[in-house]
Symmetry: C2
Subunit: 415 residues, 2 copies
């Protein structure tokens, strides 16, 4: 009853794919979406499709980092509380003042934070080191050459690469682009993801339950997870396990989807696996077992004239969630040609022992707190309540069947 998978490289025992082999197969099938030009305010969360360089030096002119007085440092060499340098104040430069000022030796010019340093000045005496005078100023300390001066190009030189292609744009990146004067950016847009739950046992949340039925949670969860991963996601209502229903439901989504995700209908069993049967007829989706727990039965391929990637995730909610993070998230990132395809990982110490099936890599639900991670009780792949308490996945390698309390483990930080 199991699927044939070519044994050899990338398989664990000749029938199970490794996590990495399956991820590689997926990524090889993904073509990035064409880049689009968007307004800076709309670029957050998109992936940069160009390098952003500094058109001018940053800052573009020498300026003061404090409120104070522009001076020649040498004029203050012998300044002290008892014997301050006393200089006439010839002008005042506010931030944003674009007039050209020049400083004559033996004089001072009042200057505000961010204002352009006058020609001839080589230092700024902070107002706290002075009497704050307006016609004349007393300076109580020697001011070093370059004090409180931000030099042109001190942040970035002209032509310097500020942001690299492939970065997912976070708030600070938006600031960097704005600082470089950019109002439009070439980005890979958010992929459009359509999510379908299949299963005759599923009913819409809120409707009365008859024993034998469960409320659908997968489509809500996976749509939310896809949005969090950078996509625009649509949830379709539950699709019944009707061979004549599943394929049209999928085809209907092709017009608006860059990626399709189904859940359910792909266990390794048999005649009730409707998604599998429907997609097998299309001949372009491969089903395999992956050496992972939860989420062993996986399907991936492309459908339609546009060769839209499709994932068939297992129906158990925890399996669907873990499968999404391991396999679908990198595909969404690859559609955006992003540099970082995976969730961040950390090392942490187990506060309790854990078990794992032999030959499969487990991703156990846990709570990460500082350098410690606590496995949750309720590790069954249907136990969604425990997933709701988790903020991390504890990785147990394929070769291990148990790890003791105190062991250092790799942990995936959940979004």
């Amino acid at each position: 009853m199991t699927e044939a998978v070519a044994p050899g490289v990338g398989t664990v025992d000749g029938s199970l794919s490794t996590v990495e082999a399956y991820q590689s197969a997926i990524l090889q099938a993904i073509t990035p979406l064409p880049p689009v030009r968007v307004e800076l305010a709309d670029a957050e969360g998109c992936v940069l499709a160009e390098d952003v360089t500094a058109a001018v030096p940053l800052p573009s002119f020498d300026n003061s980092s404090m409120d104070g007085y522009a001076v020649l440092a040498a004029d203050t060499d012998h300044s002290s509380e008892r014997s301050p340098a006393t200089l006439p104040v010839m002008a005042e430069i506010a931030a944003g003042d674009t007039a050209a000022y020049g400083l004559a030796p033996g004089t001072a010019i009042r200057i505000m934070t961010g204002a352009r340093l006058p020609a001839g000045a080589d230092a700024v005496a902070p107002v706290e080191w002075t009497d704050g005078g307006t016609a004349r100023v007393e300076i109580y300390r020697p001011v070093a050459h370059g004090n409180a001066v931000r030099y042109a190009g001190g942040d970035a030189t002209a032509g310097e690469t500020l942001l690299e292609k492939g970065v997912r744009l976070r708030p600070m990146h938006i600031a960097v682009a704005a600082s470089a004067g950019r109002t439009m950016l070439m980005v890979r847009p958010r992929p459009r993801v359509a999510v379908l739950s299949t299963g005759n046992e599923l009913t819409e949340p809120g409707t009365p339950l008859v024993p034998g039925q469960i409320w659908d949670s997968n489509s809500y969860m996976i749509a939310a997870a896809a949005r969090e991963a950078g996509a625009t996601a649509y949830r379709r209502s539950v699709v019944p396990d009707d061979p004549a229903g599943v394929l049209p439901a999928l085809e209907e989504q092709l017009a608006r989807a860059d990626l399709l995700i189904t859940t359910g209908g792909v266990s390794m069993g048999g005649e009730h696996d409707v998604v599998k049967a429907a997609l097998r007829d299309l001949g372009t989706v491969t089903f395999r077992k992956v050496a992972v727990q939860p989420g062993m039965p996986q399907g991936f391929g492309t459908i339609g004239a546009g060769r839209v990637p499709i994932f068939t995730l297992p129906g158990n909610p925890v399996s669907a969630y873990v499968s999404f993070q391991l396999f679908v998230r990198p595909a969404i990132a690859a559609l955006q040609d992003a540099r970082d395809l995976r969730l961040p990982g950390v090392r942490a110490t187990l506060t309790a022992s854990v078990r794992s099936p032999e030959g499969r890599r487990s991703y156990l639900r846990g709570v990460l707190d500082g350098g410690q991670v606590t496995p949750l009780s309720g590790q069954g792949s249907h136990q969604i309540a425990a997933l709701g308490k988790a903020n991390a996945l504890i990785i147990v390698p394929e070769r291990e069947t148990q790890l003791p309390q105190g062991e250092t483990v790799d942990v995936v930080v959940l979004p």
Copy 2:
């Protein structure tokens, strides 16, 4: 020229507030927004304003975790490869089948993953342990009581709290709510945040620069950061340092804002600090120095009849960003009555030494990679390019002026 701040508890040296004292003062002034009822699909990222409990046990009925045969375990006690138990197959139960089945001793019922266990059965023989027969089935191994059975309530009992008030709803929480049959949730909505940059030196990105001017980046960055923190954010175009302009610009935003943020115009200097002058006239905003680097000058208060909270952040972009994460983010979370107000922190090892001004807590820009954190070069508060490369803030405590390579430090993980 410095502001008077009451000395004593919460101050470092009688004139600087501690980070914590300032955070506390802010949080005391915030009233959570009224809760609203939203569709499950719109709830992601909002903060739950009610406990979600299980209306029924989860799962609500005993069911099979595998494709196989429902049996009485005792009927397979002596099964082996050589001498299998052979049982007539009386029926087949698919997932979603709501008919009532009963198992007679000495018989089997074919059952699919997720299907309801028939009355009288106490175990499931996985199809892999059998010959897969349809009229009769041969079972090659003894099946333990409860094998492959998920019991009703095994995930959660009826009435059990699944999600607690105050949690910010992530994809798995959406799944938990759907699993509990919920289609609507009471949440605190995303606060509406209006962001204004002030400064005569600021021009819109994309316009030609005259020496003395810089492109505004703060309003883009802070609006993006507010969105990332859970708000709906609006950016207003640059407001000039014109006393007659700043107050009307702020008042115009009151109608649509739950929180106002300005950047610039609040250095401890003097007459050019227009935001400060304008808000001082309103009499409800307090300016103070906080023992932090960057971001020492801070202003917070409420304005208008609705007592809308307002933050006046420093104008240097790095100062504005760090101030946002330390002080504004908790306020946005408090408007949503969220349980977690702050960014996550980890401990990491410094790969290089760092310096910090005495008596102030530094938040240095760094790159966190595994358990190591590398300080970036360019730690000036105007050096936005370095911020664009950072994924973490390295904390140097107030009492330290330098920390050596190899030291373990607290690190804030940036979103």
